[in-house]
């Protein structure tokens, strides 16, 4: 499996010091890759750098045969979106905007793509509703449909289960698992160690610099993981 995103010795430095220091990893086709770590360990900064939202102060991020507009992304929700007047269809259709390039309007095949993804994620009853009237789990599904409209080769997700109850979170992980089985690479930041370990194929454990990077099997045997599990058992 070829690498589609290659991150080489990336560092991000702010005034207060390094947020991300010397991180390297590869995302290959069909990977299920989880980035774990404590709050403030540089996970989101790292993902933003991979997406090109932040310029790294050292190292480089290379897309191999992957264009910026072939990336699906689910950011953390912002305060602006909470009371934003918009229909579910408008949100999902905006996932198609990037593939139009300089062309101003959506084409019929974009609208078909929206219908397909609405069906795929089983959100037909929501399609006519207003986005801000939905529950957190429903909103996450809508954003997933939007991400799939923009690309289905690779999905990057920043804490997709944040704020969801365990049932909705499991549903979401199930969906992501299905998408992964059908060939999409998944890169996910997760707080939820149990599910990260359950679903991921590869794991990066961040604490500004990587504490661990490799296969899940090796992670489960690593001192980093044992310390966390042990700590959880003590608590």
């Amino acid at each position: 499996m070829g690498s589609i995103i290659s991150v080489q010795n990336v560092s991000v430095k702010y005034d207060s010091g390094f947020a991300v220091k010397d991180v390297s990893f590869d995302v290959c086709e069909g990977d299920y890759f989880c980035i774990v770590g404590e709050n403030g360990s540089g996970k989101s900064t790292l993902m933003n750098t991979v997406l090109g939202l932040i310029r790294p102060s050292g190292g480089r991020v290379a897309y191999n045969g992957l264009k910026q507009n072939q990336i699906g992304f689910i950011p953390q929700q912002t305060a602006v979106q909470k009371d934003f007047p918009t229909s579910v269809r408008e949100v999902i259709l905006s996932g198609c905007t990037n593939r139009r390039g300089v062309l101003p309007f959506h084409a019929n095949k974009d609208r078909q793509r929206v219908r397909d993804n609405i069906k795929r994620l089983d959100i037909e009853p929501l399609a006519r509703k207003s986005y801000c009237d939905l529950s957190g789990g429903q909103q996450q599904r809508v954003l997933l449909a939007r991400a799939l409209c923009s690309a289905d080769k690779i999905l990057l997700l920043d804490e997709p289960a944040g704020g969801l109850d365990p049932v909705m979170a499991n549903e979401l992980y199930g969906l992501l698992g299905e998408l992964n089985n059908s060939g999409a690479a998944i890169v996910m930041i997760s707080h939820d160690m149990a599910s990260a370990v359950k679903y991921a194929g590869k794991i990066l454990h961040m604490q500004t610099s990587p504490l661990f990077y490799g296969k899940k099997k090796d992670y489960l045997a690593s001192p980093v993981y044992k310390k966390i599990v042990g700590g959880a058992a003590d608590a």
Partner: protein
């Protein structure tokens, strides 16, 4: 009533004000939806204050106001956008500083240059007599540009307004579209400022969007309602100002306020009914 409207339309300066005003109101409302939703309302306010300062400079040096205002306000739009994007230096506070400074400088220049308080008053609170034939052509041209660009880039503007991070990460040039919104806003403010007044023009940007959001729950619905509502409020405001001999700019703002209260009530009733049904 009909007689009065006929009487109004027989006066060229009223017709000019009507055309310029409806076009400006339409454009301001369209841009306002994005500005309000992106929490950039302060930019509109800041730009109008800077606009006042530039009018004062033009008055002092006795040059055509728009030739000074347009480039300076465009420049200010560029700077204000940069400020509000850079949260480190407290964007909103920085905008407030710039706008009150521009206002203060403007007041001093006007007071020293000609010592005509009437000009000062007109600049601050607007005058429909300010619209000359040249302004008419200019405002039609500016409005045509704003409307065309808005329609062409509607989908991109939506993407940037709803979720800038997603748009940027998936390959949309968000910086470009933010700048487009800010620059178009600057143009609309400069054109509308002398009629509505520097202190009141930002209401044309903020009110229609806020009003429409009470009732409409889709972006397209809000955009279309804002544009229509804004034009209607302008016309009613102008008629009210003529009928009761009140200042035009202020009357238009008050009509917008009334529309907001009506929509607020409708939204409230809608919500209550939905709760009852479910």
């Amino acid at each position: 009533m009909l007689d009065m409207v006929n009487e109004m339309l027989s006066m060229p300066f009223v017709v000019r004000a009507l055309i310029v005003g409806v076009l400006v109101a339409l454009c301001a409302a369209l841009l306002g939806v994005s500005l309000v939703l992106k929490r950039y309302s302060m930019i509109g306010d800041g730009l109008s204050h800077v606009g006042f300062g530039t009018l004062a400079i033009a008055l002092a040096f006795n040059v055509a106001p728009l030739q000074v205002s347009i480039p300076l306000v465009l420049l200010a739009a560029f700077l204000l956008l940069r400020l509000s994007e850079n949260s480190k230096i407290k964007g909103d506070a920085a905008i407030a500083l710039i706008s009150s400074s521009a206002l203060a400088v403007g007041v001093i220049i006007v007071a020293k240059a000609k010592g005509m308080p009437a000009d000062l008053f007109n600049y601050m609170f607007g005058s429909i007599l300010a619209m000359k034939t040249g302004d008419l052509y200019l405002s039609v041209a500016v409005s045509a540009v704003v409307l065309t660009l808005y329609v062409l880039f509607y989908n991109k503007i939506y993407a940037v307004t709803f979720d800038e991070k997603f748009a940027k990460a998936t390959g949309t040039k968000t910086g470009l579209y933010n700048m487009l919104i800010a620059l178009l806003t600057a143009l609309v403010i400069v054109v509308g400022m002398r009629m509505m007044g520097a202190m009141l023009i930002s209401s044309l940007i903020i009110f229609p969007a806020l009003t429409s959001m009470r009732v409409f729950k889709s972006f397209k619905g809000v955009v279309i309602c804002s544009a229509g509502l804004s034009a209607v409020c302008f016309i009613i405001g102008l008629v009210v100002s003529y009928a009761w001999d009140t200042p035009a700019g202020a009357s238009i703002v008050v009509v917008n306020l009334a529309a907001f209260l009506v929509f607020f009530a409708v939204g409230f009733v809608n919500k209550a009914l939905r709760h009852l049904c479910c």
